[in-house]
Amino acid sequence: MRLKKYLTLTRAGMIEALQFRLGTVVIVIGNLLYLTVVYFLWKAIYASSGTDVVNGMTFSDTLIYLVLATALFNFMEMYAVWEMGRSIQSGKIVLDLLKPMDYRRLLFWSYSGSFVMNFLTTFLPTFIIVGAVTHGAIPLRLNLLYFAVSVIMAVMINYSIDFFVGTICLFTESIWGINIMKQVVVLLLSGATIPIAFFPEPLKTVVMYMPFQSIYNAPLTLLLDGSPDIEDVLMILGTQLFWCITTTVISKLFWKVSLRQITVNGG
């Protein structure tokens, strides 16, 4: 019964996602465009490097990684910061706070519909196409299971970071500034735009200690490695789990504390 009220939100989100017919077409065009640019750019880079393997990745490794990273991005990105910022500014948040549901959960489940839609419309087709085009460059073994687990945690980490940043909007009117900062930092440091393998050594080490790489780098590394050491897998998943719990707790706490602060001060 409890789940049902959340599933209602999921369904509404799915209907809404379908309404944006042209939106969907444009997203697909945008992704194709991005991938085209990425393809030729990396082709040029590999051509000028003179070797087939750069930083331990072949051209097709890099490409598969980036294509799937894009697909993951489309699947996970939910513009929660915008949504929160806007409803805080317009005062709509008051209505949401009155609903008999925790706001953090309400927002997440409202998005879950588009998660499902995006998974079906962007990630899955991309995955199948990439798999077919590269003739099995993506291993289809136990790694799929690791990947699935990893993605779920990635979604949660991503959402927690978003929610944390969105909470900052309670204190400032600058939604744009906050959102753009979060976006560029996450995209760069998570390995969504450039595989972390390409980062220079000290930067790579620093990035590995941050939560961001758990969002894109971790699931994709698990997916692309067909015969990994079980230790490596556990290490990656363990790190993710750690960040998942940490970011969730921090974002929840921050929201609670901020909300109290705001209601006391009559924000």
């Binding site: 369904r11 799915m14 209907i15 379908l18 309404q19 017919r21």
Partner: protein, 333 residues
């Protein structure tokens, strides 16, 4: 008196998308869409004289804002002709805009972050108002309302009432020939409503500005308009003096009674006893609108007294509000 607005057999049609319901419907919408044609305004004609205040009434979705958009040049009629100040507004929106002012009760057209006086100065440049006229207008405003505290306040910090007031002043600033007021008193408290009505009345008298007023508040109509135009579903229902309108319903009286107990419940009960009359209730009174051609008020009262313990009663002539309501419900026949 000269005609400032002439509307001849104007019709406006829109193409509207039919959305299907539910998840399956949305899926279908992805592949095929079906449209239908809606007549928002259907064959309307009227003339408005310079200096008139006309109440333009109708239920939501009646076609009021479409008509206004056509008069302001934002929209071109599908058929028919509109002349504002002798010109077709949509053919030269800019020139027409110079002669009109527009106020939306809920949407301020002023610069949100600027103090009112800076908005005025920008408007002065945009409308190319010369210094003399600008100053005399400000003097006039000062004599009508207490604007000093407003002038240096950013619009975003104003209360709704102050904002509406400011918007009205801004709309009259370039001394337009016509001002369109769309629900100017919506959401305001009683004293602010009165203040705004007085202001509109004074500006109309002072500048002989034509005012077209759309509203759902009959208080606005009673305070300002001699003439009203009513449309519904795109068709014109009525265009004449407000007094003349009441004449249609001359045989109607409102019988107000007070009974102990829950007013709403009682009102429903009374309505079931007197299905031929409309019954309303507020905190104090239950009102029965009695058509004396059908039954004398006295008889109705006597009938009611037998069944209910009536504490108090009043008899009133029909109010504008009730007249309009009757027209929305059953038209003018």
């Amino acid at each position: 008196m000269s005609k400032i607005i002439e509307i001849r057999n104007v019709t406006k049609e829109f193409k509207v998308l039919n959305r299907r319901e539910g998840l399956k419907g949305s899926l279908k919408d992805l592949f095929s869409r079906d449209y239908k044609i809606v007549k928002a305004v259907n064959d309307i004609s009227m003339d408005i004289e310079q200096g008139e205040i006309v109440g333009y009434l109708g239920p939501n979705g009646a076609g009021k804002s479409t008509t206004i958009k056509m008069m302001t040049g934002v929209l071109e009629p599908t058929a028919g002709e509109i002349l504002v100040n002798g010109n077709a507004p949509y053919k030269n929106r800019s020139r027409n805009a110079q002669e009109i002012g527009v106020v939306f009760g809920q949407r301020s057209q002023l610069w949100w972050a600027l103090p009112l006086v800076e908005s005025f100065k920008l408007l002065k440049d945009i409308y190319q108002i010369d210094d003399k006229q600008y100053n005399s207008m400000l003097d006039l405003y000062r004599s009508l309302v207490d604007i000093e505290p407003l002038l240096h306040k950013p619009v975003r910090q104003m209360s709704l009432g102050q904002r509406t007031l400011s918007d009205i002043l801004a709309a009259f600033l370039h001394d337009p020939k016509i001002v369109f007021l769309d629900e100017p008193t919506i959401g305001l408290d009683v004293s602010m409503k009165a203040k705004i009505r007085t202001l509109i009345h004074a500006l109309n008298k002072e500048k002989n500005t034509t005012v077209i007023l759309t509203t759902h508040d009959m208080g606005d109509v009673d305070a300002l308009c001699r003439r009203i135009v009513i449309i519904d579903k795109g068709r014109m229902l009525y265009d004449n003096d407000i007094e003349h309108l009441k004449g249609f319903f001359g045989s109607y009286r409102t019988l107000k009674i007070r009974i102990d107990g829950d007013m709403k419940e009682k009102a429903e009960k009374i309505h079931s006893e007197l299905p031929q009359f409309s019954v309303d209730s507020d905190d104090e009174w239950i009102s029965v609108l009695v058509d004396e051609d059908k039954e004398k008020v006295i008889d109705v009262l006597a009938g009611l007294q037998k069944k209910h313990d009536i504490r108090d009663m009043q008899l009133e002539e029909i109010s504008t509000e009730e007249v309009i309501k009757k027209i929305y419900e059953e038209g003018v026949e």
